[in-house]
């Protein structure tokens, strides 16, 4: 349980921030971390995928996580909402550290309720969209607000329609996910994430499964969210997206943070050879 008092405050700042999204991002960013990962170690069997990674996202901050394939970006993101359990290190959300029972390989969160509490306020957008196939687009958006947050149906549907309109697919409410294009599906998935009124959002390569043309639809939505002052961690291979929206860029290499800083610094003046090589290899694609 680290710095509870300050974190509590961060939570409050964030709550204000989600309600009045117009609040200036610069003001919000001065708060304490909404989400902090501290010295995360993650093993898959004998393979150490994350070797002591620390990341802190303050309210309103956008962090871009870059790095080559297999460097552990997805795993880090999944540790944040506890889809993966780190064997060592702490996950601190809105000032409250996840409590653990047992150590090492058998480490588990002590409280299932605490984990659900974190997930409720930390929405994730997946590379493959993962919209629930048996539900219509609107139902996808209202499912968690109704079952998890306990909103009543008509209220949730009204908000859901507004969010779908906001991401530009207001006419697709009653379609099923399989009837949408990839870009439309990802925008629906973002609307689903927004419907939880999250304190922070996690994006795992949100545009990697899309054609360049469809990519732009989704990128536009993400840029709008950044401008609103949302707290986000975005894993991406799209360096121009990282440059445009991020306040902080983190370069992950083989489970270690190799370099980190403002986009201008990281992209303009890379210090390590590895980052230079990585940027060269992606500059063709980006």
């Amino acid at each position: 349980m680290a710095d509870t008092g300050a974190g509590q405050q961060a939570g409050n700042t964030q709550a204000g921030n989600t309600n009045g999204a117009k609040q200036s991002a610069a003001v919000a960013k001065n708060g304490a971390a909404v989400l902090e990962l501290r010295d995360i170690h993650k093993y898959f069997g004998d393979l150490e995928v994350l070797k002591g990674v620390s990341v802190a996202a303050r309210a309103g901050e956008v962090i871009a996580l870059i790095g080559s394939s297999g460097s552990g970006k997805s795993t880090l993101l999944r540790c944040a909402n506890l889809l993966e359990i780190p064997q060592q290190g702490d996950v601190i959300f809105q000032g409250k550290a996840i409590e653990w029972r047992a150590k090492g390989a058998g480490r588990q969160p002590a409280s299932e309720v605490q984990v659900r509490g974190v997930r409720t306020h930390l929405s994730m957008v997946f590379q493959q969209f993962n919209l629930w196939a048996h539900l219509s687009v609107l139902q996808n958006v209202t499912e968690a607000p109704i079952t998890v947050l306990g909103q009543d149906r008509s209220e949730a549907e009204e908000k859901g329609r507004a969010l779908l309109a906001k991401v530009g697919i207001g006419d697709k409410c009653d379609a099923y996910p399989a009837q949408l294009s990839g870009g439309q599906q990802q925008r629906a998935a973002i609307a689903r994430a927004l419907a939880m009124e999250p304190a922070a959002m996690l994006f795992d390569e949100p545009t990697s499964a899309l054609d360049p043309e469809l990519e732009q639809e989704v990128i536009k939505v993400i840029k709008d969210l950044a401008a609103e002052g949302r707290t986000m961690i975005i894993v991406t291979h799209d360096m121009s997206l990282a440059r445009d929206v991020a306040d902080q860029v983190i370069f992950l290499h083989q489970g270690v943070i190799e370099e980190q800083g403002a986009p201008a610094e990281v992209f303009g003046n890379p210090k390590s050879d590895r980052l230079r090589q990585f940027l060269l290899s992606t500059s063709v694609a980006a």
Binding site: E112, S123, W132, A133, Q179
Partner: protein
């Protein structure tokens, strides 16, 4: 289950009271001669002869047995799906004992011929119930229930009670048969549902967890609803097999349509019947063929509609027809 059987009992009660007012009850519960002119069969023209022939007490038993088959199906189907769901869920229980129970149930029925189950289950349930009643209702009798090779319980423990009317015996036998069918077909359903649950993509469930749904909510809001998409073809298959297995009722002492077709189709001499005829079994069995064929055919249409509805808008081959258009 109880609700279904009670409904069955009630409808029989209605029939009994409705018909007994006419005062023409025969020994087989409640049937009567329907048409007055049938009193003297020798005087009849061929058409009215046929109308009289087809409404004899025995033929009414045939019609009743068709209803029996339909009731069996109507009660067994939901019970089997319920048991199947319970079995499939048991196999995923966090408790080892429950998992073992689910596994034992499905693999037991898988490994043993159905026929043995149809003979064993009614007998086992009957003896178990009578044994419990014997111990509870006749505490003064402390001796063993197995006397030599016979299973003997006190009169008060008998099921149904000795002096009960014949239809009570028939209903009791029918209930045991329904139980046997439900247990066997429940195990088939459990296998289908278990497999279908495994076919649901892991990412769908993981996403639900990532949005804060509890394990229970994930199961009932996401996992099971998607399970039906994958389970329906398999369950349709089980339904067809169930329809075709109904003649096994006869094995359990329930006089079903096959029994009556054989009984009525056999040649009748004037000594035993007012309506003598030769060997007509071929006609009766042809009738059965048509009955089962029509039944399975209509089932197929119904199931197809259901499958279309469930897979509407899904990224499966079946779902594509629902207007995917690309």
């Amino acid at each position: 289950m109880t609700a279904g059987l009670t409904a069955g009992l009630m409808s029989i009660d209605l029939m009994t009271t409705g018909l007994s007012t006419s005062g023409l009850l025969t020994n087989r519960y409640w049937f009567k001669v329907l048409f007055e002119y049938c009193a003297d069969p020798d005087s009849l023209s061929s058409l009215s002869w046929l109308s009289c022939y087809l409404t004899t007490v025995k033929h009414q038993s045939l019609y009743w047995s068709i209803l029996t088959v339909l009731i069996l199906l109507a009660v067994t189907a939901p019970m089997a799906v319920g048991l199947g769901l319970a079995g499939a869920l048991a196999r995923r229980s966090p408790f080892g004992a429950v998992r073992g129970l689910g596994w034992g149930y499905t693999s037991m029925v898988r490994g043993i011929p159905d026929l043995i189950f149809f003979l064993f289950v009614p007998l086992a349930i009957d003896q178990m119930l009578e044994y419990i009643r014997h111990r509870v209702l006749c505490p003064q009798e402390t001796g063993p229930v197995w006397v030599g090779h016979d299973f003997v319980v006190c009169d008060a423990a008998k099921l149904p009670l000795g002096p009960s009317p014949e239809w009570v015996h028939d209903i009791y036998g029918f209930m045991l048969a329904v139980l046997a069918f439900s247990i066997v077909f429940g195990a088939f359903c459990a296998n289908v549902i278990h497999g279908a649950m495994n076919a649901v993509p892991r990412a769908q469930l993981e996403t639900a967890r990532a949005y804060g749904l509890s394990p229970r909510q994930v199961m009932f809001r996401i996992h099971l609803p998607q399970t039906w998409i994958y389970a329906l073809p398999g369950l349709s298959n089980v339904w067809m097999i169930l329809i075709k297995a109904t003649p096994l009722l006869f094995l359990m002492g329930v006089e079903d349509i096959v029994y009556w077709a054989k009984e009525l189709g056999g040649s009748k001499s004037a000594r035993f019947s007012d309506f003598p005829h030769g060997d007509w079994r071929i006609y009766y069995f042809s009738g059965l063929l048509v009955f089962y064929l029509l039944f399975t055919w209509f089932s197929q249409i119904g199931l197809k509609r259901l499958t279309d509805r469930v897979s509407r808008g899904q990224a499966t081959l079946a779902g594509g027809k629902g207007g995917l258009g690309r």
